[in-house]
Symmetry: C2
Subunit: 553 residues, 2 copies
C-alpha cells in the first residue's frame, strides 16, 4: 500500500516552537498573568511527558484533567497525546454522579485538578469508581488540604524532569483525546478522538471555511478547555503559530476586557452569555477592545442583537459556529460568501445569525420526517446528519446509543435545521425539543429568539407540554428584567409572537420565572421545566381551537 507519514498532533508543536519560538503563551492564573514563549512551552511539554513516563503512564492510558483555561492545562494538550496517552478533559460543572460515571468509564490513571476544583473532585470521590486513578496532580504551585491521595503539585511533578523527550512515532489511529457529552438525559456518552481526527479538525479550522486563523492572530479561548478541547482552539492556534491567551478560572467581563486590551486579542470564542456580559461591562466602563477582530460564538445560538452591537459599536464580526462533542466540535461556520460583504447590515446579520456553512471536508444531509432529504429553501426542516474525517462513528462502550445516533457512518445530530438557498444551516430546534402540535412542527428556538428580543426579557425558553387535542402545545417561561411591568409584558410578548409566526405557534401561556434552569454546560434544561409544569394548567389553559395548524382543521 502506498502511503505517507501518519497524521499526528506533534508536528504542529514542532513547527510552532521552531518557526515562532518567540510567540507567546499568556495565562491568567490566581497569581496574576504569566507568560512564556512557544520555545519554553515545548520544553515544558517535554518535561510533562517525562514526568508522566516516570509516573508510569503508558501508551493508551487515559490522563484526566479537571481544570480551567491556563497554560498548564494547555501543556497537557500536547504532552499527553504526543507521548501516546489519551487526554480526557472532564467537565467540573457536572453533577457528582456524572463525574463518577465518567472517571470510572474512562479509567483515568492520573488526574490533573485545579486548586479551586480540588474540593469539588474530592466531593465526587468514591474509592471504587476512582480505583484506576494512581495519582492526583494539583495544577498549581501548592497543594491545598485534601483527602485525595497520592497528590503532588504540578510544578513539583515536572520540576526534575528533562525537557528533551524522545517522542514516539504514533499511529494516526491512536486515541489522543476524549470528551463526554453531557446530555440532559441518561448517562454521559464518551467520544474518543484519534490523532487523525484531531489533526483533521485542526487543519479544517485554519482556513476561511473554518475559523480563519493566521499567525498574526492573538487567540483567547473563553470557552472552557473541558468543552470539546475549547473547540479545538489550543491545537489550531498552535498550528497557525498564533499567540495564545488563556483567561484562567472564572474570568469576569473586566478580566476579559483587560486581557483583550493588554494582550491585543484579535480572536476570542465562547458562549453567548459571556459576550452579553462583556457588552454590559463595556457600556459602563472604558476599555479599548479595538484589537479585537472577531468573536466565535457557539454552544447556543448567537442573538442577532449581540451580532449587531459588536458590529455597529465595536467593528467586531461575530462568527457564529455550530458543532458537537461528536465532531471535535466544528461543523458549520457562518462566514459570509464573496459578495455578501456589500449586502446591507440586516441582510448580513441574518446570515451571521444562522449556524452557517458546512466546513470544507465534511458532508451533510438534512433528513425530513419521511426519511427523504429536505429542500434547501430556508423553510423545510429536518434532522441534520453529518459525516467526515473528524466526526466520530461511535460512542465509547455504548452500543445502544450507537444504534440510535448513527446510521452507517452518518452521525444523526439530533438538531432540527433548515438550509437556505445559499447553503446556510439554521438550527430550529433540538429534535427532542421541537414541539409537535396537531401534526405540524413548532420551533421552540425561534419562539425563544423572538421573546428574548424584547427589551424587558432577560431570558426565555419555550417547551412543549402535553395537550389532549393537539398532542403538544408551546408554553413560554420568561425571566423578566428587574423593574419590568409583568402584566404589560405578558400581553406584549403574546402580541409580538402573534405578529411574527403562524397563529398556532403562539404559546398557550407565558409564565414568569426567576431563572431558567441550566445544564452543566450552560444550556437551558427544558426537561426540568417540563417536569415542573403542572399538567392541569394545560387543560385549564387558553389553547384556542383556532391556534391549531391549518392542516389539522
Amino acid at each position: 500500500m502506498p502511503g505517507a507519514t501518519d497524521q499526528t498532533l506533534r508536528p504542529f508543536l514542532w513547527r510552532a516552537s521552531k518557526l515562532f519560538p518567540d510567540r507567546e503563551v499568556v495565562s491568567r492564573t490566581h497569581d496574576g498573568v504569566e507568560r512564556y514563549t512557544y520555545s519554553e512551552y515545548e520544553d515544558r511539554v517535554g518535561q510533562l511527558a517525562n514526568a508522566l513516563d516516570a509516573a508510569g503512564v503508558e501508551r493508551g492510558d487515559r490522563v484526566g484533567t479537571f481544570c480551567w483555561n491556563h497554560h498548564r492545562h494547555f501543556e497537557t494538550y500536547f504532552g499527553v497525546p504526543s507521548m501516546g496517552a489519551q487526554l480526557h478533559t472532564i467537565n467540573p460543572l457536572l453533577p457528582d454522579h456524572h463525574i463518577q460515571y465518567i472517571v470510572e468509564n474512562a479509567a483515568d490513571t492520573v488526574l490533573f485538578v485545579d486548586p479551586s476544583l480540588v474540593e469539588k473532585l474530592a466531593g465526587a470521590y468514591d474509592e471504587e469508581v476512582f480505583a484506576s486513578v494512581e495519582r492526583y496532580v494539583v495544577v498549581g504551585e501548592e497543594v491545598p488540604e485534601t483527602s485525595l491521595s497520592p497528590v503532588t503539585d504540578y510544578e513539583s511533578f515536572v520540576a526534575e524532569a528533562d525537557a528533551a523527550y524522545d517522542w514516539p512515532d504514533l499511529s494516526e489511529e491512536q486515541p489522543a483525546g476524549m470528551c463526554y457529552t453531557s446530555g440532559t438525559t441518561g448517562k454521559p456518552k464518551g467520544v474518543e478522538y484519534t490523532q487523525q481526527m484531531l489533526w483533521s479538525h485542526t487543519m479544517a479550522t485554519l482556513p476561511e471555511s473554518g475559523l480563519d486563523i493566521r499567525s498574526s492572530d492573538v487567540v483567547m479561548p473563553v470557552v472552557p478547555m473541558f468543552h470539546v478541547n475549547a473547540w479545538g482552539l489550543p491545537f489550531s492556534t498552535t498550528a497557525a503559530g498564533a499567540k495564545h491567551v488563556y483567561p484562567g478560572p472564572s474570568p469576569s467581563p473586566e478580566d476579559l476586557a483587560s486581557l483583550i486590551e493588554e494582550e491585543g486579542v484579535t480572536l476570542t470564542a465562547g458562549v453567548p452569555t459571556v459576550w452579553l456580559g462583556l457588552l454590559d461591562y463595556l457600556d459602563e466602563n472604558d476599555a479599548d477592545i479595538s484589537s479585537l477582530d472577531r468573536i466565535v460564538i457557539g454552544g447556543a445560538a448567537a442573538p442577532r442583537s449581540v451580532i449587531r452591537r459588536f458590529d455597529e459599536e465595536y467593528d467586531v464580526d461575530v462568527v457564529h459556529a455550530w458543532g458537537m462533542t461528536e465532531m471535535a466540535p466544528i461543523g458549520t461556520v457562518a462566514h459570509l460568501k464573496p459578495g455578501m460583504e456589500s449586502w446591507d447590515r440586516e441582510e448580513r446579520y441574518e446570515k451571521r445569525a444562522k449556524q452557517g456553512l458546512l466546513a470544507s471536508g465534511l458532508e451533510m444531509r438534512v433528513v425530513g420526517d419521511d426519511g427523504e432529504e429536505v429542500e434547501w429553501n430556508g423553510e423545510d426542516f429536518g434532522e441534520l446528519w453529518v459525516r467526515g474525517p473528524w466526526v466520530t462513528t461511535e460512542y465509547y462502550e455504548r452500543p445502544e446509543a450507537n444504534e440510535e445516533d448513527f446510521e452507517g457512518n452518518w452521525l444523526k445530530t439530533g438538531d432540527v435545521v433548515t438550509v437556505d438557498e445559499e447553503g446556510y444551516v439554521q438550527i430550529v430546534d433540538r429534535a427532542k425539543d421541537v414541539i409537535k402540535s396537531g401534526g405540524e412542527w413548532i420551533s421552540s428556538v425561534e419562539l425563544e429568539n423572538s421573546l428574548m428580543a424584547h427589551d424587558d426579557v432577560a431570558e426565555a425558553t419555550v417547551v412543549g407540554v402535553p395537550h389532549e387535542r393537539w398532542q403538544e402545545r408551546p408554553v413560554a417561561f420568561v425571566v423578566p428584567k428587574d423593574g419590568a411591568d409583568r402584566e404589560a409584558l405578558q400581553s406584549e410578548l403574546t402580541e409580538m409572537v402573534r405578529a411574527e409566526f403562524p397563529k398556532w405557534w403562539v404559546p398557550d401561556e407565558v409564565m414568569f420565572i426567576e431563572e431558567v434552569p441550566k445544564t452543566a454546560t450552560g444550556k437551558f434544561d427544558k426537561k426540568v421545566l417540563r417536569e415542573e409544569y403542572d399538567d392541569e394548567s394545560i387543560v385549564a389553559g387558553k389553547s384556542p381551537d383556532d391556534a391549531a395548524p391549518a392542516s389539522n382543521d
Copy 2:
C-alpha cells in the same frame, strides 16, 4: 478502534457544487473561452464516471491523461479518483522512451489525450508497452486522423452518460493519483497519491501556512496539470469554493494578461519564465491586471527582480514556494511572518526570495555531511529531509531508489539548503549539482542568480567540472542577450562574482552558449553541459592556485 469517515476528495466537490453552485469554471480552449458552473461541473464529472464505468474501468485501474490545462482535464481530476480509479497525469514533454516506460509501468487502461498532442502520443506508441491501454479518448469534440485505436472524442464519450453517479465510499488508502518524477538521470520514478495524501495536501494548501486560498479567489493555474496536479490547485480551489480559470494549450503572455483582466484572476501560479514573459508583455502593452493579488512561483527559484517588479509596478505579491512530486507537491511557502510587512522592501524581498516556511503539518531536518542536523543560521547547509501526511514514503516498484532516497519515513529531498534564524528555507543547490571544490561546497544556484542579475544575461548556469587538484571547479555557461558586448560581459561577470563571493567560488571559465539545454519540465539540464564540456579545457583552464578554498591551502 475509534475513528471517523475516511479522508477522500469527493466531499470537496460536493461542498463546492452545493454551497457555491454558481461559481464558475472557465477554460480557454482551441475554440475560445468556455465556462460553466460548479453545478454543471458536478454533472459533467458524474457523466465522466458513468462513461468510464461503461468503458470497463474498475476500482484501482489507472487512467492516464496527456493534456493541457482545461475544463475537461479538470473533470478527470474529480471523476477518476472519486469512482475509485487512479488519475495518472503524464507529462507530454517527456522524450518518447520515458513516455513508453511510464505508460507500461503504470499500466494505464484508458488514455485521455489533447487533440494537439495526439501526434506526439502516437509517435511514442509501441504495441507492447501500450498493451494495457484499452481506449483512447481525444479531449475535444473531434478526433484528428490518428493511428491510435480504439479512439473516441471526449464529448461523444460522455454524451449519453447519466449525470447521477452512485459514488462509492472509498478507503482513504485507495490510490487516487499518480505522477512520475522526471529526473535528468535514470528512469522516471512513480509516486502514488492516496486519497488521504491528496486530502491532506488540499487541506494544507488552504490556510495562510499553505497558499491562503479563499472562496473569493479566482485561481488560474498556469503550471501544467501534468506537473504534480498543477501543484494541487484544482483540488484546493474546489475545496475553497473559489473560481477556476484554466489557460488552455500553450497560453501566450497576451492570453494570460487577457484572462487575468477578463476573469478577474486574483491568484495564479507557474514557473519563473512564465512571469518574466508576462512582465515583458506588460511593458509593451496596455493590460489591466489590477485584480491580481499574488503569484505563486515554484519549480525553480523566483528571481529577486521578478519579485521586486511585481511588487513595485503592479502591487502583486510573489509567493515563492517549493515542493516535489514526492510531496504532492507543496513543502515550503515564503509568506511573511507577522511584523515583517513593515520591514523595508529589500528585507521583505530577501525573505520572499527564499523558498520559505515549512507548511503546517510537516516536519523537516537539514542534515549536514556529517549526518548531524545543521544550525539554523542562514549559512550552514545540508540536505533537506521532510516527512508528513502528504509526503510519500516510497516510489512505485523501485526498491533500489527507495533504498537511496528514503531514511525510514523521511524523504531525502536531494536539495541542499540553508535555514535562517526565522526558519526560512533557502535552496542553495541540488545535492547532485553542488560543486565540491577542495573539500568545500560551492552553490551553483547562488552563482547562477548572481550572473542572471546582469542586464546583458538572458540565462546562465554553472556546473562543476572535474579538476585534477581541486576535484571540481565551477564553469559558467551564459546566454548573452542580443547585442551584448561579449568580451566586456565576460570580464564584468567575473568581476561581479569576485565582489560577491569567496574567491574560490569564481568560475574558472565563462563560456557563451546559444541556449541552456533543458529537461522536459523546463529545468536546466546540467548533465548535458557537463558531458559536452571538454575535459581538456579544464587542464588548459586558468584555475589559479589562489582560487582554491582557504581550508585547502
